[in-house]
Amino acid sequence: MNLRRFFSRPAADAELAQELEAHLQHEVDHNIARGMSEEKARRQARLKLGSVRRVHETVWERNSLEWFETMLRDLRYAVRTLSRTPAFTVTAVLVMALGIGANVTLFTVVRSVLLKPLPFREPDRLIQLYEKSPDGRREYSYIAGGMYAAWKKAASSVEQMAIYGTDSINLSGSGGQLPEKLRYAKCSWDLLSMMGVVPEVGRLFVEADDRRAAPATVVLTHGLWMRRYAGDRGIVGKTILLDAKPYTVVGVLPAWFLYPDTQTQLWAPIYHEESSGMMEAVDNHNFFVIARLRRGATMAQALSQVDTAEKQVRAAHPTPSTASGASARTLLDGVVHDAKATLYTLMGATSCVLLIACLNVANLLVARSASRRKETSVRAALGGSRWRLLREQLTESAVLAGAGGALGMLFAWLGTRWLVEARPEMARANAIHMDGVVLLFGLGVVAGCGLLAGLIPSLSFLRGPLLEALQDSSRATSAGHGRVRLRRALLAAEVGLTVVLLTCAGLLLKSYNHLRSTDLGCATQNVLTMRFALPHARYDTAAKTAAFYEQLLPRLRALPGVKAAGVVTTLPGQGYGGDSRFTLPEHPDFAGGAVQDAIVRGADPGYFSALQIPLLSGRFFEDHERLTDARSVIVSKSFARQYFGDEDALGKHILIKDFDGVPPEGFEVVGVVGDTLWALTEQDTAMMYFPLYSGGWPNASIGVRSDGDVTSLALPIQKVLGELDPDLPVSDVLTMDQSIGRSTVDASFTSSMVMAFAVIALVLAAVGLYGVLSYIVTQRTSEIGIRIALGAQRGAVLRLILSDGLRPAWIGLLLGLVGSGFAVQLIRTMLYGTRALDWVLFAEVGMVLALVAGVACAIPAWRASRLDPMQALRTE
């Protein structure tokens, strides 16, 4: 038996007919030869041959595949039944397609981002090591150069250990191209080869490049090479200017290498780039460490070795900034940890939607099978097996799931592309694409949906007597109690899931709003920001740097449209920006005489008023506080409270050893200003501001405030900078709002996506409620008619039906609220400024749901109460 013969049955049958005809002819010939009359000969021949039809049937049956044939028949039957109710079919297919599409999209992303191995050589042996932050708040924090050296000696379970850090650097204009500020990475020479990178052109670093005294070398990423140098292979060996210093290009990286992110465009050897002091310090945390485990070694072994080394170093250098422990995770986790929570949350949300979609379709199918109950019963009575009935039901749901799946895969394809475009900065976004496994997953989901949606309605005829329905009179007042119960259970489940989704979405949205409304502590409306860095090669003295700022600021303020302008090393919300150790001469024994840490900023005299950071006491800087005359410091409110307590901070001194040419008595506190946040979610606000004009601050952010549209000022400001230094690139030209938006895009994305899914779920649940109640009302039409005819008040009928429909909603709501209590624990890490068990929100969700459920049930209930009893009684 094979398919080929199965499909060629009609042709084979025709041939058989010919063959039998030939046989007859021969027999007739034979009989005539024996002397029969032609008529008799023909009759005898037929008799002898027997039943021709029987022969046909036997051969036909032999060639058929029974299972295949029944399947085709079931399929045809299902398609015919479904096409008789196009509204139902279209709804069900769309609902399934939405659910399947959303799930497959998320799976594609989750698989590409979280599950697929990194594109490096033997990526499962690569791990990322971290220091715990000294205050213990961060498990995975930066590593100090000296600590890396100590780890490297101690960790015998790793084959190689490499270090890298990222920074920005100015690439000078050449060949008519503008100067650019680029993100670049500095790494120990063996990092790239450890990851299994083979250069596209030239070579990677060698040990000899990775020394302070070595000639400067750089490796270009493929992107920069193509963009800036048009893929010229001759670039290797040439010199480019970075921060106004010559670097020799030794190689180009392959296009697939996009580590640590897509923005990094250049690589340079770290021991050449960083001072030996930086690479030896054990408490100046700036870098990342990657290691390759020896074969057979585990991450736990490596971690315990570096952790021991860390503790030894800390015992030898007990400063508060020395971390007390190390931590480790796989390199993949290190790359994707930010995306993980978001993606798994979304995956959870889409799974809920899919489940609701399936339940809804199951619900609709239950209603259909209820209206066909008589038919199934008759068929069962006539000998149709239950299996056969079940198969029909499953075929129907399989057809729905199949159509939904096909459409859903299309949705998923579109959705994946949209997601990649919407979130290009997501870790490994470049690796996202659909593949065979995704397709398999899609098929699995489709099969699961088909089974779930098909089996639930089949439950009722898998158990219990089928013939009962036949005994129901056609005037039965309420048919199929079992089915109604089943549908109610389904509805309760749907409502419950919807409630879970709604609470999670609500919490995420609330945290997002909270985040957006967080007060940075400065003006954010109509403020334009941009950043630049003065290259040390050309600004090698404090005087030159100070002079640049002193020329820049008056010109900025003179631009038409500019209301106020200020320059600070890092604007609020733009990042940590560095800290410094200090002591307080007036409190020598503060915190046991230990050295303290606080965030530092360099600010020009007009910065605070430009950004509307309030002066709480004292004064701002003055223009004459420049170079060695810069002896004052301004502290933030939390700094004053934290280190001076109730005393007046003004007039006290802060001693800093890291700065060049510091006043021996320390900087005098001349003012206290309001707190600003360095990131929306970060609370350390103890800050010290030093005069920008001291000249020791090469990195700067401009903040310009205006009355109206601030973006039109971008070009004039860049022009001013260009006049002062034509080779100075600027970056991050953004309004303050955009700059904040960047840091909240994750929260915004997740919350709006989950909200969208929650709304879909709500609509599905409402449709479900409405559908079920409408169905019940139709079933009970005659009963209601009798009630009304016997004098029942319409209000009573309304209440009766309403309570009938709302019961599953109440149960679902209750279950959902309990479920939410657990679900919100899972998204706890994504919440900000919001309690996970936010009773107000829970109440709001409950109310929204009750309202929607009420409306969905009110319509059929109202319709029932308006029934004309005479007509109702006449309806069969």
């Binding site: 041939e15 058989l16 010919q18 063959e19 039998l20 030939a22 046989h23 002819q25 021969h26 027999e27 010939d29 034979h30 002898k48 041959l49 027997g50 039943s51 021709v52 029987r54 022969v55 036997t58 051969v59 032999r62």
Partner: protein, 116 residues
């Protein structure tokens, strides 16, 4: 619902039809009508072939690769489907003949014993 398979011929033992057809074809290619008559004549009309049942058997043999068929012109100048033995068919015939002889011997023994 499948029907019980009908014996190849009411008069014949199950499975012997195949063997007889194969045996007939040893003498060369033939069409269905010839095969039926050869079987009847050779058995001196003891074995009556229900001619219709010959065809499902022929198709079955062809499916198993023991015979192959082609259209041709018969001795009466009529179009007919001719069957001929394949190598596998020859082997099958040898095997079936052996089996048959074993069965005959076995049955003969039983009947012989019963007769004593």
């Amino acid at each position: 619902m499948t029907e019980p398979k009908k014996a190849a011929s009411g008069e014949m033992l199950q499975g012997t039809m195949d063997m007889l057809i194969l045996r007939t074809l040893v003498m060369g290619r033939a069409h269905g009508h010839t095969i039926a008559h050869v079987i009847e004549n050779t058995s001196e009309d003891v074995l009556q072939v229900e001619q219709g049942s010959l065809y499902p058997a022929l198709h079955r043999l062809e499916d198993r690769g023991w015979v192959k068929s082609s259209w041709g012109v018969s001795e009466n100048n009529r179009k007919a489907k001719f069957y001929e033995l394949t190598t596998a068919g020859r082997k099958q015939l040898v095997a079936e003949r052996e089996r048959w002889q074993q069965v005959v011997v076995a049955i003969g023994r039983i009947l012989g014993e019963a007769a004593e």
